[in-house]
Symmetry: C2
Subunit: 296 residues, 2 copies
């Protein structure tokens, strides 16, 4: 698919399609879900029906509210546990046994915590840490690309970057980064601490099972040439060091990267000069789209 | 002003206020302005009134349209010239003699060109190039900060970065960058060409005179330690090399930086790890806000 643009710009398979896929959410299909009077999630009507009769959960004209007299994890977590127990068959993930923070906004104390598998059916934003591992070889930059194991529940066989992990309740981003660096790439804490925070990627899209809403904190980690990451938790079969033109072509022309890794990698390519605004007609839309702005 | 946050986070004078200032636009106060049937600008009712009687300019119920039979700069530029001639007293800038491209979207061929001073009254997006000049000294990163001359029409005495310039019609971003690098920093084309595209900053805010809408393409340029930029066009009195903690404190706690330079510099700080998401409660809002997302 090519289409002539200004000044010889040509649209190939587009980087922007990854962003477009991740910004499809019509919130009119959802009702807000509130804790302490603040919207923390979005519910499909089918989910709202399932919640009737749970103590402290009230259906209002404009959404579902947990009794605003309840506040903080000690009082709200038991209510969320009852809510999540009603979601049987709606969650596409099995219960993970891991609790995530429920936030009205990044930087505020969590209002509550809940089982991770409830995030999509309840439209609750899940935070994560994504780390691009890269090597400088002269003027060239190379990116570590992981091949996800074929037996994974999530995105089997897809391409990944160095380290990624959802943020569990009770850990800082840096603590989580250290934990995942050890499990996913066999890197020690001192190496993990050299990862530099470089931004965030946000997206939200409607699914049959609910609303996927993610806030990914992105880090770049320069590794010495010759040091290879080693996966320890079975998530990744092998890592390869790719030149950026191969990364760019693969993100642009294929769906081999896990969907959200494609976004984080696009951000890496933008930040490291691998995409030129003079020749990429979608440049401004890509930058905005990675922050959750719907292109168009 | 301090306010306790989660995990010891404290809100000082906020980086986010610069973003908040630049995202105040209620488009309901404006009517769309169309060329070739595409919205390229936004007009206050007072501007709409001034345009009555211009040939090929039609007031429709939902905006102002230039006759859609007219297309391309050859046919549209004379109409825009007549429109701009009606803006006397509304433009806060004197006519610059420089024409800018009128775009429906970055990456498309310009629909027309027009005198730069008409951009705000017509709510047309102006593109620009902003370059952060920096130096690496061991593990430390330092940023070149310019002191704008006191006799400037725009932002006299404010702090600036290394190079910035609006994009005139007919130049690529890279060509404009080379031109501005020579004029504003005394850098040759080979040095300018080492500037790396790293993203874009977008904002839009309502003013008495219209709508300011900018799309700034951002480049980072590493300079050798010991090489000092030299301003040639009188825009900057002197350049100083600042450690990032001084840059951060100055952006956060003062309005000394030119308003849009504060945004570009915030992007630099975010990209270079000078802002930690674990301790900055506005982190996600800052990242999104630099792409034009209204914080909320």
């Amino acid at each position: 698919m090519t289409r002539p643009r200004a000044g010889g710009m040509v649209r190939r398979m587009s980087l922007l399609r990854h962003v477009e896929r991740c910004t499809r959410a019509d919130l009119r299909e959802f009702l807000p879900f509130r804790l302490e009077g603040q919207t923390v999630g979005w519910l499909r009507p089918a989910v709202v029906e399932r919640l009737s009769g749970i103590e402290h959960v009230r259906r209002a004209a404009d959404g579902v509210t947990v009794d605003p007299d309840l506040s903080g994890p000690a009082e709200l977590d038991p209510v969320l546990d009852q809510i999540v127990a009603r979601l049987d068959g709606l969650t596409e993930r099995k219960p993970t046994g891991e609790r995530i923070p429920v936030l009205a906004r990044w930087g505020e104390a969590p209002l509550a915590t809940m089982e991770r598998a409830g995030a999509v059916p309840l439209g609750i934003t899940a935070c994560g840490v994504h780390v691009n591992g890269y090597v400088r070889r002269g003027a060239e930059t190379l990116l570590w690309v992981g091949h996800r194991a074929a037996d994974r529940e999530v995105a089997p066989g897809k391409l990944d970057h160095l380290i990624a992990g959802g943020l569990p309740a009770g850990l800082s981003l840096r603590e989580n980064l250290r934990k995942e660096a050890a499990e996913e790439a066999g890197l020690d804490a001192a190496t993990a601490d050299r990862a530099v925070p470089v931004g965030a990627v946000q997206y939200r899209f409607a699914k049959a099972g609910g609303l996927r809403s993610d806030l990914l904190f992105v880090y770049d980690l320069e590794l010495p040439d010759g040091v290879s990451p080693e996966n320890r938790d079975g998530e990744v079969d092998r890592f390869e060091l790719w030149p950026l033109d191969r990364v760019l072509a693969t993100v642009r022309d294929t769906d081999e990267f896990k969907f959200n890794v494609a976004l984080v990698v696009t951000g890496f390519l933008l930040r490291h000069g691998a995409i030129d605004p003079d020749s990429e007609p979608d440049y401004a839309a890509l930058v905005a789209g990675l922050s959750g702005v719907r292109p168009g």
